[in-house]
């Protein structure tokens, strides 16, 4: 008698053509999509050149997104994009996104309908776990796995054990997906879900927008997780209908699925949360912060928080206000569509009038690439996902992770704070 399976395990079993899988089992699974960006794809192309196959398994199931260092910041990054561009032309890759069409990969692919419920997706970017918000299994890999995936359409996986997060209650006005995931990482630590799937369940999910869910799934990797995954509900179906023509498949965990740990989180009890340097687990709620932590820079954007919900809440707070003296506020809509929508809604005007700058979509500042690199001793409140040593620039600069609401309120105040009631 086989035991029950989690949502993740069911998706993996189907893609490995097996009736049943369990934690720890090594499988080979079919891939629905293989993703790479301008940093990881050149390395994958180098590996592919060593392979005897030569071609790609399916030109329609590969997405190459130039998003980290574009428009190119220097000659080397230009060379890397050129390498990927030529590869895309040679192999007639359907989903190649360059300047003018590109967006930050994990905001772009769901928006373009390339990722749907029930998929197995690998990407040579650690935040590939974002698509779990749609009820897909997706996980980050390195360039060699990407190369093998592009050539064969398959990848090997160790079936993960699971941790269940039962979300209940209704989150408060200023509590977003970012606060939920920062709270979880603070609770279980940066290796709390090491090698495991993070399965989100519970009545509270219905009060989380798709953008909230993308943010939560996006940062599963920051707890060490292999993936994060949400059940499919009406909101997901609506999103998929609006964005994708692809058929999708809904999976539900078995009632007797095995979870190694279970947590219940009352969303109504959460407060706006900040992760202090230099680990995402160093969390405090804003109302626990007693000292005045001055900031030099604020960043609102990234694959974690560069979507419409994020820009709207930032604009709501910045409307008619000014960014504090000596604070640089950098706002980055994650895709061209989001950029355009923000323009239509008048958000860009609000940002510029408040004294912020608005950038073309890029991962730039999140990883200290460009467009907001920090000097020695500087401090940033950022809606991005990592606050490691030197992440946003100088080894002695600091990143505090927070929601767009907290970042906007802090940019206005000049120190870390939260929106007033």
């Amino acid at each position: 008698m086989s035991k029950g399976m989690t949502m993740t395990q069911k998706i993996l079993a189907d893609h490995a053509h097996l009736p049943f899988v369990e934690a720890g089992q090594l499988i080979e699974a079919d891939l629905d999509l293989v993703l790479g960006n301008d940093i990881t794809t050149p390395v994958a192309i180098r590996e592919m050149d060593k392979m005897q196959t030569g071609g790609v398994f399916d030109k329609d199931k590969i997405a190459l997104v130039m998003d980290h260092f574009v428009p190119n910041k220097d000659i080397k990054s230009a060379q890397n994009c050129k390498c990927v561009r030529e590869f895309s032309i040679k192999h007639e890759i359907s989903h190649y996104y360059d300047v003018g069409k590109m967006g930050i990969e994990h905001a772009l692919l769901p928006e373009q309908g390339l990722t749907v419920a029930g998929d197995v997706i690998i990407g040579a970017d650690s935040h590939t776990c974002t698509y779990g918000a749609l009820g897909a299994f997706s996980t980050g890999v390195g360039s060699t796995d990407m190369a093998a995936g592009m050539a064969t359409g398959k990848a090997w996986f160790k079936v993960p054990g699971a941790i269940r997060f039962n979300l209940t209650g209704i989150p408060g006005k200023w509590v977003s997906g970012k606060d939920v995931i920062l709270h979880i990482i603070g609770m279980i630590g940066v290796d709390g879900a090491l090698y495991k799937s993070m399965e989100f369940t519970g009545d509270g999910i219905r009060y989380l927008s798709m953008d909230d869910r993308f943010t939560i799934a996006n940062m599963a990797i920051e707890a060490g997780g292999k993936n994060g995954i949400f059940p499919v509900d009406d909101l997901t179906r609506e999103y998929l209908k609006e964005h994708s023509k692809r058929e999708y498949k809904e999976y539900e965990a078995d009632a007797d699925a095995v979870y190694e740990e279970e947590y219940t989180i009352d969303l109504s009890a959460l407060r706006p949360t900040v992760a202090f340097p230099h680990l995402p687990e160093n969390t405090k709620t804003v109302d626990e912060i007693k000292e005045k932590i001055k900031v030099d820079q604020a960043v609102i954007g990234s694959c974690t928080n560069g979507r419409m919900d994020d820009l709207r809440i930032a604009a709501m707070l910045l409307n008619g206000k000014k960014v504090a003296d000596h604070v640089r506020l950098i706002i980055i809509p994650a895709t061209q569509e989001i950029y355009l929508q923000a323009m239509k809604e008048g958000l860009l005007k609000t940002f510029i009038e408040a004294g912020a700058i608005v950038s073309t979509p890029t991962c730039g500042p999140c990883l200290g690439g460009y467009m907001g690199v920090m000097a020695e001793g500087e401090r940033c409140i950022s809606t991005t996902n990592r606050n490691f040593v030197g992440r946003m620039g100088h080894v002695d600069s600091e990143v505090y992770l927070a929601s767009p609401a907290v970042a906007a309120a802090s940019a206005i105040a000049g120190y870390i704070t939260q929106p007033k009631e």
């Binding site: 090594l26 940093i39 970017d125 060699t144 090997w156 290796d191 090491l194 040593v389 992440r391």
Partner: protein
């Protein structure tokens, strides 16, 4: 296969941003890239590391970004093996896929001190701290992963299978 060298020890959560900072990721030449290995955690690293030396870490070694550049620069710097309490999963995959030896062994990761001479026998999984004259048994790889390592990486493994 064996490793033998001086061990350089670091703490928990050594992330891929300190192993190879993103500001160098546009560099494709592995030799040039590896001159920045571990720069943000240990500015002396590239000066002191000799071929065969080992890196010892605590828990969650290699957390963060999926950049394969991280295990690549460690291997190119001459690191023969990384011993840690646990590894972050993408780093773990990447190390196997590019043929950098890694071993999980919490006891060895605790006991070995910076500068100790350490020997590792990959076939048996035995780790010996020569300086302290202590031995530890590391976590052996599943057979499937051993085959990838024996093939010196995933690409060779796939080429052989076809």
């Amino acid at each position: 296969m064996k490793a033998n060298g001086t061990a350089y020890k670091y703490g928990d959560n050594v992330d891929t941003d300190v192993i190879i900072p993103a500001r160098y990721l546009a560099i494709q030449d592995v030799k040039e890239l590896s001159t920045h290995a571990m720069e943000d955690i240990d500015t002396e690293f590239v000066k002191k590391i000799k071929p065969g030396d080992l890196v010892v870490g605590g828990k969650n070694f290699g957390c963060g970004s999926s950049r394969e550049h991280a295990p690549i620069v460690l291997k190119a710097s001459g690191v023969s093996c990384v011993i840690a309490k646990t590894f972050a999963r993408i780093f773990y995959r990447n190390a196997i896929n590019i043929g950098l030896a890694i071993i999980e062994c919490p006891e060895a990761a605790d006991a070995i001190e910076d500068g100790d001479t350490v020997e590792v026998d990959f076939d048996s999984g035995m780790i010996k701290d020569v300086t302290k004259d202590q031995t530890f048994k590391g976590q052996p790889f599943p057979e499937f992963m051993q085959k990838i390592i024996e093939s010196e990486g995933l690409i060779n493994y796939i080429n052989k299978k076809q």
